[in-house]
Structure formats: structure tokens, C-alpha cells
Symmetry: D2
Subunit: 418 residues, 4 copies
């Protein structure tokens, strides 16, 4: 984010604010207060928390200097802070599922009150700094929309009754198979990173800088369930030679034998539409870095680097199967020339550890706790998923998760040296 910017008209800014904030509520439609309270593992948070925390973010970073604003309850600060050490102590992350108070109704009221206050602020007119903070808050809200979906999927999967979130639109399609081809990328010095100050970007996408691409190629599409099944059936989960040392330790400790939501029959998977037949041509999903890396080794290939990915993606339009399609599940490639499925469907694990770009400067103050402090032990993912809002994604966007994480919509695109 750069602090001056964004020539946006006042009405547009207000409409955008309201649209994104309303989308969170739309995603919660049909869920009970109980559904929105489940925390099924320390890495996940309850839906109610995903509703409250971005609201707290607006309260703290946007309304904080508005003398007219009265918080409904100042004690809520403590429990809706996530990890901002510089703004005070916080409720322990693994205990977010214990918060029966405030109730869902109170959290809805909280959202409404904050929305009203921010709306008035926008209408009165705001400076660039505040505009930038609101935009950061909206981007942040969108991230929590995605997490709300992935955490809910895990919460529903953890329950014996395996509830359905949204009925599937249609039966599993008999998609045709799209042959995999490797398409060569550019070589030599290229530039990556966010360009210009016109559009929003996180600090970790900057500065734009030169890097060197070695000869390489990228697969034209994502790895399918059917291809991954071949890996499983070939004993992929039983051969230590295919795995990183930490990966093999995880396979053994967690007794991994297949992707997170696949059932033991290797023919059914849990989706946000409940248990469904596995579509052989749909992209494999809910894969850890360890699994993506092992699969690539088994396939005689490797994962792309983030620079390879970004250089290839920069010239493509960021369209695909996003949250807006309301499928909440990746779907099969349809064929065509060039690179397919680069955006949407599943996040693509890259071979790049998540570190700073040369010349990286975090945002000042508490906002700087956003990205930089997580630059250890994580790997970069690119391209967004079927749970990501479409306008949240761009070629330079860097997502990151630890190598054992499986509950995100993450999959595999292969790369290779040339």
C-alpha cells in the first residue's frame, strides 16, 4: 500500500466499501450462531471472529481518530486483535472458539455501527492517508472472507454430521481431459513486483525490482485429481525418497495417505457442498507444500518459482473461477491455447520461500506488522482460489503458508528446467 493514491470518486469509494462489507454478511447467510462459533484447530478461527476482527481493524485504524465515534464496548479490543503486538495484548489465538460473548447479534450490530461511522467519514471526505487505510481494511476484509470459507470447511469436516454449506449447483461433470504441455517462459533479467502507485498492493509486493530467470517452462494447466490419484496409487505416500525430510516426518506423524478432504475410498471428497464424488479432471486441492513438492519430484518436474509464475501471469487477465462464481470448489480446465487456470480455482504453491524483496520497507507503525514479520518458514502461493474475491487478486499478489498447511484451496502447477 502506498499512502497517497487512488484517484477514486467519493461515491465509488463508498459503494466499494459497502459492497465488500456486505459480501461478508452474504457469505454468512444460512449459517447459525453455532456454526459461526466453531474453531476446529488453532490455525483456524470461528466465522464470528472473521466478522468481528476486520471490523475492529476499521475501528482501530480508521475510526481511531474520529472523536464522534463511540465503540460499543472497549473491552472487545482485547479479543478481536489478531497479532498486532504494538497495539496491546490479545486473546490467545487457539481460544477464539470460546467466545460466546459478544453474541452473533452483537457482532452484527457492531459491524453496522462501524459501517455507518466509516460511511459518514467517507461522505464527509477523507484525505489520502485515510483513503489508503480504508482500502487496506477492505483488502484485509477480503482476506478474511476467504479464511471464513476455508475455516468453515474445516469446521464442518470436523463434525461427524459433515454439514452442507451451499448445495452444489450441478452434478459432477464428465469433463474432457486436457493434455498437459510445458510452455517455455522468458529468460534473463526481468522485473517483478508491484508496478506504480495507481492500484493497491501490499508492502510485500514491493519494490518492483530486477531478478534473473533461468531457462524454464511452466505447465499449461493445473494437476488434476486423476493425476494425483496415480501418485497415491503408485505409493507416493510410502516412499521417503520422494519427500523433503520435514515432509516425510509430517507424513508419518500425521499419517497422511491422501489429500486432506479425500475419503478413504479415494473416490469421494468433502466439499462445501458436502461429500461429493471426485471429479477426475478437476484440479487436485487441499494439498500441502510438502505434497506438491513430492508430487513434482515423482513426476520428474519441479514447482515454478514465484518470479517465473509472476512473469508469465503478468500479461494475462486476472479472470477465472473465483468466489464470485459461488462454486466454492475448483473446476476442470476447458482447454485452449496458452496458460490455463493461472488465476482462481486453487492457489499454486511455488518453489519460493516467503522472504522480502530487495529494498523492502514495511509500513510504519502497527500496520507494518502485517506481512514482514511472517517471513520465516513459509512458502509463496500465487493466483488466488475459488474462495478468493476476484478483485482481490493481481499478478504480483503473494500469499504464503507453512509447508504443512492443507486447509487452504491450494494445488499444483508443474514447472521444469530447460
Amino acid at each position: 500500500m502506498t499512502a497517497s493514491t487512488f484517484a477514486v470518486r467519493r461515491e465509488d469509494r463508498l459503494a466499494r466499501f459497502m459492497r465488500i462489507r456486505r459480501q461478508t454478511l452474504a457469505l454468512c447467510a444460512g449459517l447459525s450462531a453455532e456454526d459461526l462459533m466453531v474453531q476446529s484447530m488453532p490455525d483456524a478461527s470461528p466465522g464470528k471472529w472473521h466478522m468481528a476482527h476486520p471490523t475492529w481493524f476499521f475501528e482501530l485504524f480508521v475510526l481511531g481518530h474520529d472523536p464522534a465515534y463511540r465503540p460499543p464496548n472497549p473491552e472487545w479490543h482485547y479479543q478481536f486483535n489478531s497479532y498486532y503486538q504494538s497495539v496491546g495484548p490479545m486473546h490467545a489465538r487457539p481460544q477464539r472458539g470460546l467466545l460466546s460473548r459478544p453474541s452473533l447479534e452483537e457482532v452484527r450490530d457492531y459491524r453496522a455501527r462501524v459501517d455507518e461511522a466509516v460511511g459518514e467519514l467517507i461522505e464527509r471526505g477523507i484525505d489520502d492517508e485515510l483513503a489508503a487505510r480504508i482500502e487496506l481494511g477492505l483488502q484485509h476484509e477480503q482476506q478474511h472472507q476467504e479464511l471464513l470459507l476455508t475455516d468453515l470447511k474445516h469446521a464442518f469436516w470436523s463434525q461427524p454430521l459433515h454439514p452442507v454449506y451451499r448445495e452444489a449447483v450441478a452434478a459432477v461433470a464428465a469433463s474432457p481431459s486436457v493434455p498437459m504441455r510445458f510452455l517455455p517462459g522468458r529468460e534473463g533479467a526481468v522485473e517483478i513486483g508491484h508496478r506504480g502507485r495507481e492500484h493497491f498492493a501490499y508492502d510485500n509486493e514491493t519494490p518492483r525490482h530486477r531478478t534473473w530467470l533461468s531457462p524454464h517452462a511452466l505447465a499449461n494447466r493445473l494437476i488434476t485429481n486423476s493425476e494425483y490419484l496415480a501418485f497415491v496409487r503408485d505409493g507416493g505416500y510410502r516412499d521417503p525418497g520422494l519427500w523433503l525430510s520435514d515432509g516425510w516426518a509430517t507424513v508419518q506423524h500425521e499419517q497422511w495417505q491422501r489429500p486432506l478432504y479425500w475419503q478413504e475410498d479415494l473416490a469421494t471428497e468433502f466439499t462445501l457442498s458436502g461429500l461429493r464424488e471426485l471429479d477426475p479432471q478437476a484440479p487436485v486441492c487441499h494439498i500441502s507444500y510438502f505434497e506438491a513438492d513430492a508430487f513434482a519430484r515423482w513426476a520428474g518436474a519441479r514447482l515454478p518459482t514465484e518470479a517465473e509464475w509472476e512473469d508469465a501471469a503478468a500479461s494475462l487477465r486476472a479472470i477465472g473461477n473465483f468466489q464470485e462464481s459461488q462454486q466454492f470448489h475448483p473446476r476442470a480446465a476447458t482447454g485452449g491455447e496458452g496458460l490455463q487456470q493461472m488465476y482462481g480455482d486453487v492457489w499454486e504453491w511455488t518453489a519460493s520461500p516467503y522472504v522480502s524483496y530487495p529494498g523492502f520497507k514495511p509500513l510504519p507503525g502497527a500496520l507494518g506488522e502485517y506481512n514482514g514479520k511472517f517471513m520465516n518458514g513459509q512458502w509463496v502461493l500465487r493466483g488466488g482460489s475459488c474462495a478468493t474475491p476476484q478483485d482481490h487478486i493481481r499478478a504480483s499478489y503473494r500469499n504464503f503458508f507453512p509447508p504443512h498447511a492443507r486447509w487452504q484451496f491450494a494445488g499444483i502447477r508443474l514447472g521444469q528446467d530447460r
Copy 2:
């Protein structure tokens, strides 16, 4: 429980069934679906689970052979079984807080359906075996009423907002101090254990048998907050010489410095009426066995054995500050001759490990999994608490918890050798 028994008229039986079942709902009045879903530690269960599990018990053990009965959802069996290995696998105990489904409304309907079916069964007339099973189910329901309260207290205390369950009836009283005296008990061979087949008892209270009492005396009343405070201030939590080895390890590991719900100021405690001033004359509460034992050593005394307690209690009426008083908190002794506060207020830790009586026979089948299999590593408590229904308690009643457990309403009566 003995399988034939209990000359009870049909109407009385029905009324008793309905009264006890309704009491569970009364305890939940004012609590939201969210409040009833919190599981704040593995030892505790959500209120919704306490509503569902005893219902499942009636469904399985009473309605199981009723061909007319249709369970609302057979899959619920799995998640509402507690620890009955012989009737099938069960949902992991620490994950009861994840169950957003069935909803609170569905659980209320489940209760209503089971109540209706059992009610019809009773009205049609039942044999002694079924009568005994219903009675066991009601006793079981009452145990879960108490746990619902203790688990809710822990759940509310675990939340930053420290909600109030029931407003306190009155301010903390300035009670007069009642002097402690030791009253001698009987010596020699005495009989303890449940007598006769007329009234209900758990299998672990039987058979009635002889045991030998050495010369001893019991304190006339419970240890007060003010007395326990003297122990704290005297460095009780810092002197390893006062503690069992396991107790000292627990003090250090858990960093205990005072009773569970006391605040750091040693003047305030968390109650089911929220944070309140400590009443110096009220019995100290939420004490582990380790603490009770260390306090007794500090005081130059010891805890009573369960035989000493039962022999003394057998001649007293089982009245006191029970759940029915709706205080949900122990209250100060009022003075008088003889043993005070033997029933109600707080469970009294004894110096007796929880083991079987000579000649003990567990109930046959799954019902035998009720008591005997827990006879390891726990200590007996006697007398019931302010969270126990009054008609649930008798002189021979044996409660048991591990020595580190603090979230029950448990306190201290001293004994001594003579």
C-alpha cells in the same frame, strides 16, 4: 442401583421424570446457543452436550427396545456417547465444542421427543428392570445438571468479558465467624455403604460392609475463605514441604498461587454471578485435592477418611445449600451444635482414594461402565455442593475427581487423629 426395586406409584414416577428433565431446561434459561456451545477445556463439556447426552442415555438404555420409538437421527449416537466403549465408537471428548450440529433447537426437540416416548412408556406401565434404568437415567441427568453449572462457570471465566449467569440475590453478607471445634467420631468396627434395596444408589456405594475406624475427630464446619487466605499469605503456595510431590509439581507447572477463581487481589472471586467480593466466612471453594491436603498439613491436621465422614453423616438429615437454593455459591456457616455444612455448599475432599468396596460387583453390560472403570488415581469427595440437586445426595454417595481438579465446587473439612 439394584435391578428390582422402588415401590413407586406410576403417577409419581412420571411426575418425578418430568420434574427432573424440566429442571435441566430451567438451568439453561437465559443462555444463548453460543453460551451452550463453549468447551473451555477437555475435562468440561458444552451445555448443549449436557442436554443431549443424558437424553441419548434414555434413548439407548430405556427406549432401545421400544419398537415404536424412532430416533430423530441415528448418527447422533456417535457424538452423544460419552465413554461407553461397549456400545460403539464415540466422538473425541476434547472436540465436543466443535458440534454446531445438531443445533440447540434440534437438541431441544430431541429432548421433547424422548421425554414424550419415555412418558408414554411409564404411563403404559413398566417392569422393575425398566424402572431401575429410568431411575439410573434420572440420577445421571442430575449429575449432568451439576456439571452443566460447573462447566459453564469455567466457560464464562475463560472469556475476557466474564459474563454473569444469574444475578446475585443479595450483597455479600457480613457473616459472623463460627469457631472451629473438633468433634470426636466413633471408633472400632462400623458399617458403611448403601443399606437395603429400597432407595436408589450407585453400584460403587455397595455392598454395605464393615470397616474399622481408628480414634479420630472431625471439624464442626468447613474451612473458610479467611482461613485459606491465611495459608496463602503464609506462603503456602511457595513451601514444597507442605505438598505431596505430585502436588508441588502441579503448583509449579500450573503456577498456582491461589484458588482457581480468586483474582490476583485476593479480595475478589469469579462466581456464577460474576466477579464478587470474597466473603471471609464463606467456605473456600474450587480447591483441588492437592490444595486441600497441603492446607490440612499446614494446619496440623488431615483430611477425614470417607468412612469417618459417612459414619458421622449417616445420622444427619441431608439438607443444606443445594442447587434448589439457586445461590450457586457456598455460604457461611450459621453456627449451632454438632457438625455443620456436612451436606451442600461444597464437596468435601476425603483422604480416601476412590477404590471398590469389598465384594463390589459392577452392573452388568454397558451400565457397568459407569463407575468401576474410573477406580484409579482419583480421590473421594462427599456431601454434595451448591450445584447438586438436593434429592441426589445421601450419606453413602461417593463422588470422585483427580487430585488436580479445581473446577468443581470442592472445599475442605479437617479431621484429626486422636
Copy 3:
């Protein structure tokens, strides 16, 4: 131990001191400094530590007031204290295996220097208090002799090469089977506990007191490998109904399927003479309380209480297969009238939790940390084992271990109600 005592002649006292101290060295003969340094689990200690710690005990509690005595190194106090909180901080128990310094040679010298100083003290003549402390030190030394053997067995078993400690004297015998019979015990009020002040006893064996025995009988001999094998083959380790709840959790968590040192073939076991064929008629050994209790339930019997055991043992001579036989392994019963194998071979688990006797008073000061502070979560064992020195045992002797402990020579005698 009682502080005045023991009309023993000076020479005898010296000879006894030297004999018992030398026996520790004799047990270490043939072991390398490396063998004596292994700590294979937190509950076990290295042999070198077992050589040094009882020496420290003499240094602290006997030589502590001898102005002529100079400790070789005062810093050793810290690392050779076991659990005496009142005499200062101590080296963490699980880290005893890290102590390469002092070396084995230095520890031998330490022993020699302390032996000489104590010997001179005895020769000069000592008062009753000191005599009692020396006797306590020798009893303590004998306990560590047994632990040295059991810990070494575990240490050797933990190594891939499974070393031999002492070559077996003879091949596994084809012992005849001795039929099991239940012999009735006494009923009514009996006295147990250590009698009189003439002979040594630990504080936990006192005071002698009355207790009540219900009608019962004891098996004439120990349970054999062959009988235990039938339990294993009958699915004993797979049926939760046979186990205490904590026991079943341990079976699953530790994946127990047979006694500790039995091999997977159920025909071989690891002994201090290496891997050997299982003797069907020898007593089963290295059994936890959980296993003993489950076996008894499977057999339709129960374990004896410690009072039943002691009352029966009091009239028998304390002879049997002890450390002195140098077999370091239990052996088959040889038949005969009355109770067999009550002393030696294996410690017998009882159905009695380890708690104090009525009127129990621990020794004053640091010596009082010896027994009383462990009275939680453990069960009493009786009779000594093939690793116990014969003159260390008496009818009133109370050993205790937690219910999951398997590395001691512990086995099963059945009891039953009548």
C-alpha cells in the same frame, strides 16, 4: 525407622555397613563406565548415579556433622540430590544421563572416602540417632541396588545390541505345572503394620494398627507366563471392557500388546542374561498395575489388598528367589502346601492405593521427604523380587509404583471374595 534402636554390637554394625556397600560394587562388576552412564528414560537413572546418590545420602545425613570429613567436591551435592527439596536445589531427574563428570573412577573414590569416614565413625562409637541414620542409609542403598538392576535392564533393552549383563546359569527348565488353588485368609479385625522398635522399618509401615478383613482367599502361587499368554491370545489387550479407563488409554497410547520385555513372537523375552526362551511355568514379570488388574478381571478374580497379603505373609519366613540367588529373574514355583512365592521372584501388585496408615507420622526434617510425599496415584506392591536383597524385605514392607510402571520385576497373585 524409629530413632532410638537396634541393640547391635559395634563390630556387627561395621561389618553390615561394609557388606552392603560392597554389594553395590559387586553388582557393577563387569560393567563399563559407558554402561553405567545410560539413562534410558526419565524414570530410570544411570548406574553411576545409583552408586553416587546413596553415598551422598551418607555424606549429607551421617557425615554432615563430622568436622573431620572433607567432601571431595561440594558441587556434587547439587547433582546427586534426588528429591530432597529441603536441602537445596537439584539436577533435573531426566538429565542424569548427561553427567560425564565426575567420572566412574571419581565416584568409586567418593564411595571409598565416604565408606572410610563412616567406618571410622562407627568404630569410634555412635549414638542411637546416628545408628538409625546409618541404618536408613543402608536400607536406602539396598533400594538403589534393586533400581540399579531394573534400570540397567531397561538400558540394555533400549540398545539395538541387547547386551548380556550376567550369563544365565542354566538353560530354561522344563518345570512341572503347579495347580492354582485359592486358600482362604482370616476375617475380621486384624493388626497390620510394623511391630515394635526392635527392627528397622520405614515410616510408612507404621503405626501398627487395626483394620478389617472381609471374607477372602489368596492364590497359592503367582500367575505364570503360560497363564498370561492365554490372556494375550484371548485378546486381552484388545478388549476395553477388561481395563480401567486410564489403563485402556495407556494400552492405546503406548500400543501395549504384551509384557514389556516379551518379543513379538510371544516365545522370547529379554532378561539380564539377554534374549531367552520364555519359561511357561515361571511367573509373568514386568507387568504394570493396569495389566495385573485387567488380567485379574479376565480371570474372574481380583488382586489382593495389602492387608490381606500382609496378614497372610506375617506367619511365613521371608525366604525365596532374591538378589542373592544371582538369577536376576523369577523362577517357576516348585509346589508344596500353603502359599508359595510370597517372598522374592516378583513384587506383587495389590488392590491398595498407597496412602498413609491411621496415625502416620513422617520422620522429621529432610528425612521425612522419604515416603509420605509420594502418597498419590500409586499402588502398593508387596514381597520383594529377584532383584531385592533378602534382608531388605519383611511382611510389613510397602513398595509403591504408579499404575503404568512396567520396568520393575512386578507380577500377579490373584485374590477373591468369598
Copy 4:
């Protein structure tokens, strides 16, 4: 390593083999069998194991096809394998300290026998493949020489008596302070990685390839104890804003307050010569990546990338304070033009996660388990330390450790963007 190579004369090869193998024994001189058996944490191994494991490596990978060679004990394979999954199961790493057998004497004999057999093989003449395997074995031996020293330091520090390994040659010097300056590095496309096939390199140093350097500078010398002390005194260990999120969690969980071997007085440190006064001008040592990164942030700088480091180091001679100086401790910079202390003293943490170079190919078969499989969650260190043999190091050498590791001789050189 590249499989053909290395025009070395036969005599030289033999001399080199014997010299390096003998150096391991020289490092063990004066250590007892007990000292060489300590394993003070799972990440460390006993000295005896460091003597045996590289020997096993020669046995397996060099003598494996020599029909004349007879292993002293084939069962040792199991316990001296480190992590080569493809050659069979292995003894659990955290239990290496339990191996009293084989004895130190047997391990010395084992070394002698293997040395003799390899020596004969070399004398008979060997092909390039075998020469390459021997060279890999020697490099591997040298790595374990360094680990032997770092693990021994931790083992001695873990003991209350804090033994001395080698007496210090001289008192702590009053070194003059050398001012820190930033020297600019090259910009643009540069080549890094091992060049040519003439000299040995690990597979992870290849292939040589282009990368892009952004404008930057490197500090002329290492960070000193005195500079690090200023960070400590400024509250460096109490300010979460200075730390990576994982780093801060580690600081809190491990209660870090200073470098690993510094005493609480901040004036003394544990060294291989025992407790010594801290030399203010000597390089700070036994620093984790988390600490190096936090210090750099506090200092307004950053760590160098490995490419920046290598490009700068490539033109310098690899001389410095290595194992050969027998100081076993870093020493103060002496001043001078250009980059100082690039080689030896302490390993320098870089800002580069340990990943493969573009086009990386691991060695085939079991030897390929050497480096590639650890490419997750670790950071690269460069330059060698006072515990590293001098001829083991080169500009392209990549060492790697997880970010919390502190027991290596690792320190800090700052870098900065320009």
C-alpha cells in the same frame, strides 16, 4: 561432488585420507568414554557417534563392494546410520546417547579396521567413482569434526560442573576496537555456485548460475560482543517489534535473554576452555538466525544475501581462525582494508533460505539424501568457523541450520541496501 575428477596422486590421496581421519582422534584426545557418550539434546550427538558414523559411511559407500572387507559387526549398521532412508531403518536420533555398546574401544578398533581397508584400497588404485566417494567421505568426516566440537560444548555446558575441554592458550586480550564500515558490493547479473570440476563441492553448490544483485553493501567485519551487549541492554529481547513472529514466539517460549552461552552477569561466557570473561571486541557467537535478524533490524540494517556474500568472498583467500588454530573460539578483528573475518571465526547467517539453485540435480541414490532433502525451513550460513577445518571451506560452501539453532559457532555480519 562430481563423480569423475580430481587429478590427485595416489600417495597424496592416502596421506590426505589418513591425515583427516587422524584429526578426528586428535580432537578426542583427553576425553573419557563417558565424555564421548553424552547427548545433551536431540539435535546433538555423542562424540562416540561422531567417531562411528563417518566410519560407517566409508564402510557402506566405499567398502560396500570390497569382497575382502569383513565388518566387525553388521548389526552396527542400524545404529550408525544417520538419516539415509534408502539404506534401511535407523536408530532414533534422540536416543544416540543410550548406546553404551559398542564401547569406545570397539569404536576405535572399528575406525582402525576401516582405515586399514580403505588405505589398502587406495594403494591398490581406485577409479574416479571410488575416489569421489572417498573424497565425499572425508568432507563428511570434517563436518562431523565440527559437530563433535559444537556438540561437546553443549554437553559440557549442560553439566553442573562445566568441564574444560582445552585450557585457553592466553588470557582474554584487550583488543583495540575496529570501526565498522559498509563496503559496496557489485550490482547486476553475477555468477555464483561452484565452478568447474577440478575441486570438490557438494551438490547443493551447483550448478554455477546467474543471479541478480541489487545495490548493496557489506560490513567490513563481524558484530562484536560489545555491540551485541548494547542490543541486549537496550531491551532487544523484550521488544516484539524487532523480531520475526516465529522469533518472538521462540524468545518467549525459551525465555531467551542473551546468547546461548553467556552467563546472567553479561560479562562471562562458557567456552571450550570453560567459563571465561567476555572479550568485548571478539565476534558475538552462538546466535540464532532469529537473533541475528532482530539485531540487524535494531541496527537499522539487514543480513547479507548468500549471493552478495559469495560474490564478495570469491576474490578473497579462505584463511582465518579455523579449527587448526586450536583456539576453538572466535577472536577479535585486527583491522585492515577491505572485508575482514569473512572466513573462519563464526558462520555468518545470511538472509537467504536454503533452497536449490536453478537446475540443481541431487546425487543419484543414497548419496542424494545428503543435502537436497533438507531444503525447507532452514537458512544459509557462510564462511566457516573456528571449529571448521580450513581446507573444508570455499566461497561457494553453503551451510544451513534452522532459525532457532544456537549451538553452532554462528554470528553476524551486517548488510544494507544502497
